[in-house]
Symmetry: C2
Subunit: 401 residues, 2 copies
């Protein structure tokens, strides 16, 4: 399919071609680093973390009662109770107390008859190890506490510290750099003149990339100047793992992103068959992925989710949680350009048997539509029309009450 000057590649082919090229240069073999377990929350392990000490590290009582030698209770019965003397035959213990050798079982305090201070009677034998927490019962020394390619949860941090695993090997965070481009872009904090556009896509890019576990730098706005863009991208590719450029991705007179990426490295894909946002550039500068995101905010958002999120997932070796999908019924007929996947922003209204799905109007420039939308409906490339009333699946953008 062609559109203007750009040959549009099917979405799945574009993703495959890009990720295959990244694979070929070894991009997905994330480097690792060793960090303190206390600071590892949210990081992805690169090796299994093993216990440096057993958990628990001493034998303790699992009940309030008396610690005894199990073997000496074998003959006990209600008819032939046995008498035990403190401290040679038993000691009193509360839950969690050390059970000293040679004692190897704990009789619950309710099952003990107190005859006089230091003298008790028991009417039932107890098995060795009963009501006892043994050394390494939870984790043996040397055992894996947290496996490889595991996103470190709060409980994993606690388990690592308990097991004396104070340092843990994790995948280095992906370091990304984003450059907004376009001579019309200015800081959103100023009084805008006609023709000036507030630069705010960097907020979207940095917000999501941090959420997805990256370290993100936002570069200065690059004007429509080939030399400036070239020098910024060259430096960023040397310093970072991932270079992102916002804008300049069409084939217009001032659209430099594809040109500069091809000068510095190679463009693998320019233009992908989906809406909104087909003018995306996927390339490499050296061995670093370089992605040109469209300038329109909705298009930038979609490209971020279609190309950057899966790239990061492959780098870390883990799929991030996706928001849930709900089923609903189309309020009106949706027409879609043939040959291109369409991502439709929709609102959802509750109805008797599910959700009423209402398409939001407006093009890729309408950032507000992403905030008003409850979800995204994906219309496959070979579907030209979804009649009103069709049952569809919608990926939620926010949790619905």
């Amino acid at each position: 399919m062609t559109r203007g000057h750009i040959d549009l590649m099917p979405l799945d082919e574009a993703q495959r071609r890009f990720f295959d090229a990244l694979d070929a240069v070894g991009f997905f073999a994330a480097p690792e680093e060793c960090v303190p377990a206390r600071r590892a929350l949210g990081r992805i392990t690169s090796r299994p973390a093993r216990a440096r000490r057993p958990v628990p590290h001493f034998r303790s009582a699992a009940m309030d009662g008396v610690a005894v030698v199990a073997d000496r209770t074998t003959s006990a019965s209600p008819e032939t109770p046995i008498r035990l003397q403190e401290p040679q035959d038993f000691v009193y213990v509360d839950t969690g107390d050390v059970v000293p050798a040679p004692f190897d079982a704990v009789i619950k305090i309710e099952d003990v008859r107190q005859l006089e201070p230091g003298l008790i009677e028991v009417e039932r034998p107890i098995a060795s190890g009963k009501n006892l927490r043994t050394i390494g019962e939870d984790v043996q020394k040397g055992e894996i506490v947290v496996p490889e390619t595991f996103k470190v949860t709060p409980e994993a941090v606690a388990a690592l510290l308990n097991a004396g695993a104070f340092d843990v090997w994790v995948k280095r965070q992906l370091r990304a750099m984003y450059f907004p481009t376009g001579s019309e872009l200015v800081s959103p904090m100023i009084d805008l003149r006609p023709g000036q556009l507030p630069e705010s896509n960097s907020q979207i890019v940095s917000g999501y990339l941090r959420q997805w576990g990256c370290v993100v730098d936002i570069g200065p706005i690059i004007p429509d100047d080939r030399a400036a863009l070239r020098s910024a991208l060259g430096e960023a590719a040397a310093e970072c793992d991932l270079v992102l450029v916002g804008g300049g991705t069409s084939m217009g007179r001032e659209d430099l992103t594809g040109t500069v990426i091809s000068e510095l490295g190679r463009v693998l894909v320019h233009g992908v068959a989906y809406h909104p946002g087909h003018p995306v550039v996927l390339g490499l500068v050296g061995e670093k992925p370089a992605i040109g995101l469209p300038g329109y905010p909705v298009a930038s958002w979609v490209a971020l989710h279609l190309f950057v999120r899966p790239l990061i997932e492959r780098y870390y070796g883990l799929a991030f949680d996706r928001p849930p999908i709900v089923e609903g019924r189309l309020a009106e007929t949706i027409r879609s350009a043939p040959g291109a996947v369409e991502f439709v922003r929709v609102r959802l209204e509750p109805e008797a048997d599910g959700w009423r799905v209402i398409k939001l109007r407006g093009g890729a420039s309408r950032l507000s539509s992403l905030i008003r939308a409850d979800g995204i409906l994906e219309v496959p490339a070979d579907v030209r029309e979804l009649p009103a009333g069709t049952r569809v699946r919608v990926r939620l953008l926010k949790t619905l009450s």
Copy 2:
């Protein structure tokens, strides 16, 4: 139902009694504060945020072409084309360029016949507003950009900045303080002696509370000393919104948490009918919630999710995303104490038509089980046995591949 000395309250009644009491003291009316939009990511709005300027703030071309006065093209047809002279009848514009008055439509460059420099011919009339982005097309000045009780997303930050809404009213973050208690607790970073327990539950509490949008302070370990606990809790309740105590929640000799909370305020619930972790204390110190979490790590984790998470959700007025639920079939029969909800840690193994659900062994002290578990199976209070092969629903703890 009773267990030892504690009267156990049904889980839903415990939650209701606690939240009703918090409601009565106005706890859920979160205070608000005004913060810069750039720093509002992840915060929950307390008022709608309105646009201080329209987006876009100037009329611009939505296509590359020529800007014209639509009225002057009314008579154009292939047989009677009209000629337009630059600059009085038209100007050239690229997408995004300012469209100056009196021009009110843009004819695509492909639809224009170039006769000589500055002179063109058009063969079709154009409607006013066509291919034009009008002022406020996305957001009108004064219109709501981000609604109330909305978790600020990256795209919301961008939209706020675009609309000149540089400050935004958000709910103040809930300030929580957690005290680990117990004379046996020590820093996990030292060489442990028998009888000492590494204090690591604070990692679980702080990790989750921060994830749920709170500001968390971890207090020092409080020994089993009534005066020390009393003074720590009293100060924390004066300074914070939520006081959490780890351990000392049973009715044993050294279990002070319930006693001290009742001395400083009132205990609403002590002991709830669920496993693992029934010895939870829910109370108030002044108008501040005070919660005693059990000392065993798994029990602490469960109590955090059953009582603290919904408390925070009500404070912010928003439900957090829950991990998905999957269906599976029990590998073996699970027996459950009657009268108490049981939260069973399970592993999942893929089988032909779904998941095989395998119960993990071990009590509430086995933190490692939370890391090995793929999900949690909730067994209702009135169910005593789930036979092998029963189809059950499991709430995932991690995303399964």
